[in-house]
Symmetry: C2
Subunit: 175 residues, 2 copies
Amino acid sequence: MVLRLGHRLPRDERVTTHVCLTSRAFGAEGVIYSGQKDSSLEASVKRIANNWGGEFSIEYEAKPIARIEKMKRDGWAVVHLTMYGMPLPEKVVEVAGKVKVLVVVGAEKVPSEVYELADFNIAVGNQPHSEIAALAVTLDRLQAGKELGRSFESNFGGASISLEPAEKGKKIRRG
Amino acid sequence: MVLRLGHRLPRDERVTTHVCLTSRAFGAEGVIYSGQKDSSLEASVKRIANNWGGEFSIEYEAKPIARIEKMKRDGWAVVHLTMYGMPLPEKVVEVAGKVKVLVVVGAEKVPSEVYELADFNIAVGNQPHSEIAALAVTLDRLQAGKELGRSFESNFGGASISLEPAEKGKKIRRG
């Protein structure tokens, strides 16, 4: 599960959409987001999930800190992605051993409670870049790349559209 | 080197910034972008590169197709990232063997010439997600993860600010 903190309109519209679609494509079961409620974001993520198959949830949370605390009590390991954290390769084995993982990504400024509450503060490199990139690489490593193979498409059952890998051009299957 | 196609203002402002910063953090030498010229994008990428060290270029190209053709003649292998392409794990060994790699990422709609000109059309999963995520995972795999380790920081010499990995909170070095 992925928690996106501090969504701001209109500034984060597209970046949060990318966070959601990356979460889905890389096998997360859903996204919880906080900050400003955004019905248009929710509708567009649901529409894509319906068309492209599989199960994926999106849910707004007004109180993300309380939600993190609750999920910790419920047994989730909390992984906060931040360029200030520990290098991913040094932590990936330990995190991959957890049964339930909540990956937290911020927008501009993350409250210090998140650093304290996190079981792991993890850096995908200690340079400024993108929470989308950090999320993608983390999910890739936690799953040892299985989301990139052809067989992962079986996660997206019930799709009205899907793709056949192609050397050139586009091979689209409908229905 | 990374080529970002079809930058649109204001729609792609932040996404293209993420493309640039991810390219830099993952060790690319620079970004070429096409679409709308954006001095503010260039200034912000240059400012970050100056503060955080290392060498990184950003350049506008009005004619990206001609540029791809020229770079091919100059010996660059062209890797176009698209959800329609071939699974990354099936191509990564062949691409990693190339000396000069141009990674091409599109915005909304990529001209069909790009699919034809590309030496490799590669999918980071065949589901819709994010060119930022696809770029990050591709650069990560091509470099076998070396951009995530502590020693990669030596690529960012001359920085006025850098970070020390931390389990909690922030360890910032200045000067």
